[in-house]
Symmetry: C2
Subunit: 226 residues, 2 copies
C-alpha cells in the first residue's frame, strides 16, 4: 500500500483546472510570465501567483527572474512527457474538452510539443530518421549515428553548440494523437527551430499548431521520405 513514490502529490498538482491550463500552455515550449499564464488559466494574477509557486514547489516548473519579470517554463522533458501521456489517456477516454474540429485536425497534423515537432509530421520525421540509420534506438535511449551527424550538419544544425547543453541530444517522446514516438531533446528542438529559419513553417500565435507552407511541406516530404 505504501510502495513507491508519492503519486498523489503531483497528480493533485496537475489536477486543478487552472494549473492544468498553465501547464498545457507551457507545452508550447516558450517561457511565459506570470501575467501571461494568469491569462491562459483564466484567473487573476494573485491566484495565478499562488498556483505557480505551488507548481514550482512541486518541482514541475523552472523559474527564471529577469528584471521585474518572472519567466516560467516546464522543469524538464520528463514533465512534458507525463503531460502528453495524460493527454493520451484523456483523449482515449473520450473526454476531449473541445469538440473535434478543423483546429483539432491541425493539431493532429503538426504541433509543438514542449519545444519540438509532434503530430503526424513529427512521427514521420522520427520514423524516417530511424529507417535511414540517422538515429539508433537502444532500449529507451536514443543516439545519433555517424550518418545522422552528417545529415544534421547538412541540414544546418550546429551540433557543437548543442552538446554543451545539459539536456540530452536525442530523446523519445510519446505522442498523444499518433500514439507513436517523435524526436525530443536538444536536437529535436534544433530541428524545429531550423525549419522555422528555413521558412518551412511558422507558429500560429496562441496555439500549438505548426503551419507548414505548401513549399515547406514539399521540402519536408522530400527530406524525410521513407
Amino acid at each position: 500500500m505504501k510502495d513507491g513514490p508519492d503519486i498523489a502529490r503531483i497528480a493533485a498538482l496537475i489536477g486543478d483546472p487552472a494549473r492544468a491550463n498553465m501547464l498545457t500552455a507551457l507545452m508550447h515550449g516558450k517561457a511565459l510570465t506570470a501575467t501571461e499564464l494568469s491569462g491562459e488559466a483564466g484567473v487573476t494574477l494573485p491566484t495565478a501567483s499562488v498556483h505557480l509557486s505551488k507548481l514550482d514547489e512541486g518541482g514541475l516548473l523552472r523559474v527564471r527572474k529577469q528584471g521585474r519579470h518572472k519567466y516560467f517554463s516546464l522543469a524538464s522533458d520528463e514533465v512534458a512527457g507525463v503531460l502528453e501521456a495524460l493527454m493520451g489517456l484523456a483523449a482515449g477516454a473520450g473526454h476531449l474538452r473541445t469538440r473535434t474540429g478543423p483546429r483539432d485536425a491541425a493539431l493532429r497534423k503538426a504541433r509543438v510539443c514542449y519545444n519540438h515537432l509532434a503530430g503526424e509530421m513529427g512521427t514521420a520525421m522520427y520514423d524516417a530518421m530511424l529507417a535511414r540509420g540517422h538515429l539508433r534506438e537502444d532500449g529507451d535511449d536514443l543516439s545519433l549515428t555517424a550518418k545522422g551527424t552528417e545529415f544534421a550538419r547538412e541540414f544546418g544544425i550546429d551540433l557543437d553548440a548543442l552538446e554543451t547543453k545539459r539536456t540530452p541530444l536525442c530523446r523519445q517522446c510519446l505522442d498523444w494523437s499518433a500514439r507513436r514516438n517523435h524526436l525530443a531533446g536538444s536536437l529535436g528542438r534544433a530541428m524545429l527551430s531550423r525549419m522555422h529559419d528555413l521558412a518551412w513553417a511558422r507558429r500560429i500565435e496562441g496555439t500549438r499548431i505548426v503551419d507548414f507552407t505548401p513549399e515547406g511541406a514539399r521540402q519536408f516530404a522530400t527530406t524525410f521520405r521513407t
Copy 2:
C-alpha cells in the same frame, strides 16, 4: 488555452491520496474487490465505493461483477503507463513517500508492473531479448521476430493462446526506477507467469516485490545474459 484533451479531469482523479493508493495497489496486476481496495487505501468501505465509481466513471478502471463480489482492475496498459510515468516524476522530484530502505532496493531490483516484470531484471531481460534479435523495435511498436518466437516456445510459452487475446503481444513500458524500457503486453505477462511456474521466483504477499530464489536468479542470468 483550450487546446487538447481535458487533462485536469483525470489528474484530479489520481490526485486524491485514497484513490492513488487504490491505483497503486492495482499495479500489482491482480483484480481486487472493493473491500480489499478499501483496506489498501485506508478508508472505510462506503468511501471506497464512491471513489471506485468515480474512477470507473473516469475510465481508469475495468469492473467485473462476480456473484456478490465486484472485481476492479486497471482499464488498460495505458493507464498503468501513466501511473509509472507519474511515479518517475515523483521519484525524480525526491518526494518519495517512504524513505529508501532495503524494501525500496528490492523494488528497484525486481517488481511487478501491472502484470509483467519490471525493475533492473525487467530491463535486463528486455535488453537481452533485443540484443539477440528476439524482439524488434520499430518506432514505438514492438514485435516478436521469428527467432524470438522460437525462443518463447522453448521457454514454454503457448503463443497461440496469447494471440487470441485483445491486448498486443509485445509492448514497451517505461520503468520509474531504471528509466528504461521493459517488456509489457501479453507476452510480458506470460513470461513472468512462466517464471513463477518454473519456481524461479515468487511474489511477496502484499507488495510488488518479485523475490528470485538463488537458483532462479542463476537461471535467469544464464537465459538472458548479454
